[in-house]
Amino acid sequence: MKRIDLLICCGSGCVSAGSLKIKNKFIELLEANDLRSEVNIIETGCMGPCDFGPVMMVYPEGVFYQKVTVDDVEEIVTEHFLKGRPVQRLMVTEDDKLKATKKEIPFYQKQVKVALENCGHIDPESMDEYIATGGFEAIGKVLSEMSQQETIDVVKDSGLRGRGGGGFPTGLKWQFGFNNKADQKYIICNADEGDPGAFMDRSLLEGDPYRVIEGMMIAAYAIGASRGYFYIRAEYPLAIKRIKLAMEQMREVGLLGDNIFGSAFSFDAEVRTGAGAFVCGEETALIHSIEGMRGQPTPKPPFPAERGLWDKPTVVNNVETLANLTSIYNKGAEWFASMGVGKSKGTKVFALTGDVKNTGLVEVPMGITLRDLIFEVGGGITNGRKFKAVQLGGPSGGCLTEKDLDTPITYESLLEKGAMMGSGGVIVMNDTNCMVNVAKFFLDFSVEESCGKCFPCRLGLKQMYGIMENITSGKGKEGDIEELIRLGNDIKKASLCGLGQTAPNPVLSTIRYFREEYDAHIKNKSCPAKVCTSLIHFDIDKSKCIGCSLCARKCPVNCITGNREDKYTIHQLDCIKCGNCDDVCPVHAVNIIPGMHYETLSAVQPTKKDTY
């Protein structure tokens, strides 16, 4: 036993912030102080509060340090490790009160960790640590005490639903897979986490890989599959490495292979990596990608549970869904179903990002309100700005506003409001964001990621994008909004797969809640949030201008002229709105004004080519 356990968060956020350099510094200084044998350094997966990164915890006290730099290491070693005096200045403070341990930090208080139970607590490359936390007990219990049907019934009773977006009941999916008889069945773990702003699957695979594999084994046993595939995005090299390593270790001790735990159940899995196609998150597209083809979806039915990978019954489960399983079997279906509200049971992991103080990975019970999620767990909006909207569900989801903040988060409530659970990306936006521009951003994403197979998605989204492009560049016209709504609804109805069926949501939901912003863009040729460059103009306040000529010299298109006496003027027709003048002005005399300048207004009337 070592005297001290030092847990350093090596999730992606903290690694990018330098946690590995800090770890090396610790090793160096511990050796210098002859403490190496007393302190156990453990690299853990994501602890959650990425914005505080690099973060670390010191046990046995459980002291939580944030924003540690390489220069702080010496103080931690000499003060804390040698003299037993935790370094207060590196702890979290809230309202001037010191929060020494994790439990005291508001970020953690409303969280309930189920899927993320071990994430940030154990070394993700050590199977022994996983076993020490009760690892593989669930699969042991399932294999030795339960029939396949009993295994499926537990998940049905728990009310677990797919965590990847759609929210299909997991037990039902398994039942279909089980009922379809075949000589070979497959289980696939969908780790093609493509939603921008979502990183929960990545953190789970990197932080607790054994748990996901154990979950997959339970699912495989339930449906009768002997072979599994992890389909992981190529953008997540560490996740791929960790899963492969974990499987190797398990094979060595017989946890993967023939007759696991002496039962009749044999199972092994392999990793397939994605190659950068968002649509591959759709299960039929994913299956085709594993088959080595273009990842294009095919119509359902036949559902994969009937005819999936290589035409055999296949169940595709998301990473987080699988990560919930071990806890359900260890603690019981009733325990799981006691969390959440209505038909949404258990907990959900969210990736909290954007203009919110505590960005990071959080797990909260279903049914928590958006207000609690953003203002309690998330700590509110950064830089004292005002909350404007929250975007849920990525490119398939929608934006919600202030008045929806007290809505409990469930699959149904979000759908009703025009958003969706999606994989759990929560992007908080303050009042400097232009909602029209944000909707255009998501639409651009969907246009590029559309696989091109079905017409409504391939061409319909492009049409919508053209209109959005017009609106944000000052060429919007009466009737554009109605046309967007019409197109959006048609695309939703007629598209083949989930991508097309949900892609218009960001536009439709922003029209629903921020129609006045669309109107301002179209009728007043003005972007109230001052984001769309075509719909703003720069102007020099002559009462402030000191005539230093800096702006004129820095202007890349030479559109600023003047002299010391007459001050300087921007020639609007030539201005490309790069903002250089504003950046360099020593007296802040350059104003950004919403709306087109009257000189430019006449120059951009829609031409025939631009009309959609």
Partner: protein, 160 residues
């Protein structure tokens, strides 16, 4: 280009070995293409033809797969590929500005490679480092919380 056209060279030998190894798994095309891109840096049509004959898969199918996935490129790429994250969090926090700054500094547009073959400017969909937004990635290094052009210049200079 002559190297690419010459099937005797070392790179093809390496690829051939990998293909015979990968043939053991079912439908290895995407895995083979990934390895091939690692060897050649990109996937010119000659390489695709080679894979076609080795794997006994029609060239049109290979071409279809190569052009479908963002990960594969048929154009030579720079020694360092600068991947600017354009996920939502980064976008909201200023990814377009980063792209503009890099583009100005290197004199290339999105998707292009510098004349000296050092850098390619590319965009990726979310690297999952949202809390550090806005970020860009070069190789395995992630650079986060980029706010000024001076930061960008400093980082790029490390690679010259």
């Amino acid at each position: 280009m002559s190297q690419i056209a010459n099937y005797d060279n070392q790179m093809y030998k390496e690829l051939k070995e990998i293909i015979s190894e990968k043939k053991k798994i079912r439908n290895p095309l995407i895995e083979v293409l990934r390895e091939a891109q690692a060897i050649f840096g990109y996937l010119p049509i000659e390489v695709q033809q080679f894979i076609s004959s080795e794997l006994d898969v029609p060239l049109n199918k290979i071409y279809g797969v190569v052009t479908f996935y963002n990960f594969f490129s048929m154009k030579p790429r720079g020694k360092y590929v600068i991947n600017v994250c354009t996920g939502t969090a980064c976008y909201v926090k200023g990814a377009p500005r980063i792209i503009q700054m890099i583009s100005e500094e290197l004199g290339i547009e999105m998707g292009e490679t510098t004349k000296d073959g050092q850098f390619t400017l590319s965009a990726v969909r979310c690297v999952g480092a949202c809390s550090l937004a806005p970020v860009f990635v070069i190789g395995e290094e992630t650079y986060g919380r980029i706010e000024t052009k001076a930061q960008v210049v400093d980082i790029l200079n490390q690679y010259h």
